[in-house]
């Protein structure tokens, strides 16, 4: 059971605030990754405020809980905001993001003891392996909860993710849901220009995964049923992946759909321009 179990209207409110948090955090230190963070806001809000069974009184082993792993660790701002807004730590701490002595490192880590984080990520391609290992231990421990992992799409250029994909199918790890942030952008440009992924659906299917497609991962009306469907497909011998179309920078008009905001912070004027588009719903930190 999710501790919030919010309706869509409440989820939208949280998403607005999370987006405000993201642009303010990144602006404050003039560094960080707003594009992917904004694009994955709906997914993380849906997971933590609707979908997952989880306990903000954090414990590392997470027995009896669904677990979430962020493999594309550079979108830490969205995760930090969602964790704070879900009660894992005080939202005031968001103001320490990327500053000296902060628990909110540029990329997520267990090293500083931030509640909600179970593995360091940032060097890409490692999250699916970690998540699959955690999922197998859930089975060993007779824990029927699920493991979620998010990767980018450019991240799929790393070979390790395909080692993990092969392994999960071979070992019938059917308690995992892997979401791919399919925004088509990476640092050097469109994924198709940098290193095309070909037919991702066929790739995953041929690796033995059940593949779902979410046409618009920035729309709760499409995302929530997809997550429900993914959950209903677990326990049937196949790992499940969701190819989730999103727009990098979603919610801030001048950032949307471009790789240029992958890892660039807004300046003062751009921050103002962004914030007028994002309603303050839960009080700024």
């Amino acid at each position: 059971m999710n501790p919030f179990n919010y309706e869509t209207e409440q989820l939208l409110d949280v998403a607005h605030q999370v987006r405000r948090d993201i642009v303010r955090m990144v602006h404050a230190v003039n560094s960080g990754h707003p594009g992917g963070s904004l694009g994955c806001t709906e997914l993380l809000v849906a997971l933590y405020f609707k979908q997952m069974t989880h306990n903000p009184e954090f414990n590392m082993n997470g027995e009896g809980e669904d677990l979430f792993f962020l493999s594309n660790g550079h979108i830490s701002p969205v995760w930090y905001s969602v964790l704070a807004r879900a009660g894992y730590f005080d939202p005031k701490e968001l103001s320490t993001f990327r500053k000296l002595d902060s628990r909110l490192q540029g990329h997520p880590t267990t090293h500083e003891g931030l509640p909600g984080i179970r593995i360091a990520s940032g060097s890409l391609g490692q999250g699916p392996s970690v998540a699959i290992g955690a999922a197998q231990v859930k089975k060993l421990n007779n824990d029927d909860k699920l493991v979620y992992v998010l990767t980018g799409d450019g991240e799929l250029e790393e070979g390790q993710v395909w080692e993990a994909a092969m392994y999960a199918a071979h070992h019938k790890v059917d308690n995992i849901i892997w979401a791919v942030d399919y925004n088509g952008q990476q640092i050097d440009g469109p994924v198709d220009a940098v290193m095309s992924l070909g037919n991702l659906r066929l790739k995953f299917e041929s690796f033995g995964w059940k593949v779902l497609h979410c046409e618009n991962g920035n729309d709760f009306a499409q995302l929530l049923p997809t997550l429900e469907e993914a959950k209903s497909l677990t326990g049937q011998g196949l790992p499940v992946v969701i190819l989730m179309n999103t727009q990098m920078g979603f919610g801030v008009d001048f950032m949307m759909g471009s790789h240029k905001w992958h890892g660039v912070a807004p300046n003062d004027a751009q921050l103002e321009q962004a914030l007028v588009q994002l309603k303050e719903t839960l009080n700024d930190y």
Partner: protein, 318 residues
Amino acid sequence: MKDFPYSESKDTRSGFGAGLLELGRTNPNVVALCADLVGSLKMGDFIKEFPERFFQVGIAEANMIGLAAGMTIGGKIPFTGTFANFSTGRVYDQIRQSVAYSGKNVKICASHAGLTLGEDGATHQILEDIGMMKMLPHMTVINPCDFNQTKAATIAIAEYEGPVYLRFGRPVVPNFTPADQKFEIGKALMLNEGKDVTILATGHLVWKAILAGKILAEQGIDAEIINIHTIKPLDSEAILASVRKTGCVVTAEEHNYLGGLGESVARVLAQELPTPQEFVAVNDTFGESGTPDQLMEKYGLNETSIVDAVKRAISRKK
């Protein structure tokens, strides 16, 4: 010079296999992973008895390290098994981020380390692994010397909470350490007390140091021999106590002299007690195909090299 009797020679990797089997029986949280080398790693007995706690990963070492890191979440103690080369250099970034930086309780168990892997040649003979692993914060690095000690070390690292690199090898070597000797991580073992020189040896070079000690004794040189099975954390106290007495030191290891035991010792001595030191180690080069004995001789990792190094060290004493 003390005598070190033994009844048989065995490979250290079999000590790992025996230790893993015992852990299977005594610690239900221990799980094992292997990247298509279960025979070489001697994991067969564990797999036979505990098939549900074994995970075959195939030839995908990066995935294996990530899986192991994930398996600690939920309370398991994963032991990964492959050759030392594929346990370290191939997966350095996975170990760095998902294991060491994340502080995960993963035991990276690495066989066929060093030149004694033999005929497969330099692609498989890693001589840099100790250096890579000891540079990682939070990582413990252990290189036991014989079957009994490898078995004891395997059991001991399950009791310790944190990432460990356990390095062992392929050839049979005299199994001389007592079967009931408890393994204490980070505690050097005095093998022979002496006054003229301190020989600090690790792994397969421990037996070579004993052979060298006998030769030196015949020549009237009284060598203190210490088994440094744990390279990190290093037992600085034991090393300094010995060197204060002898005034010179020889380190011996099946590893590049860059990044190995010798450099760890040199750092301690440079800070605390500057002392003449000689290195028995590979001279910053790759290995090649050959029998283990041929390679150890060609690359200067046998008792003769240790004897020569001892004489150089003694000659440098003020």
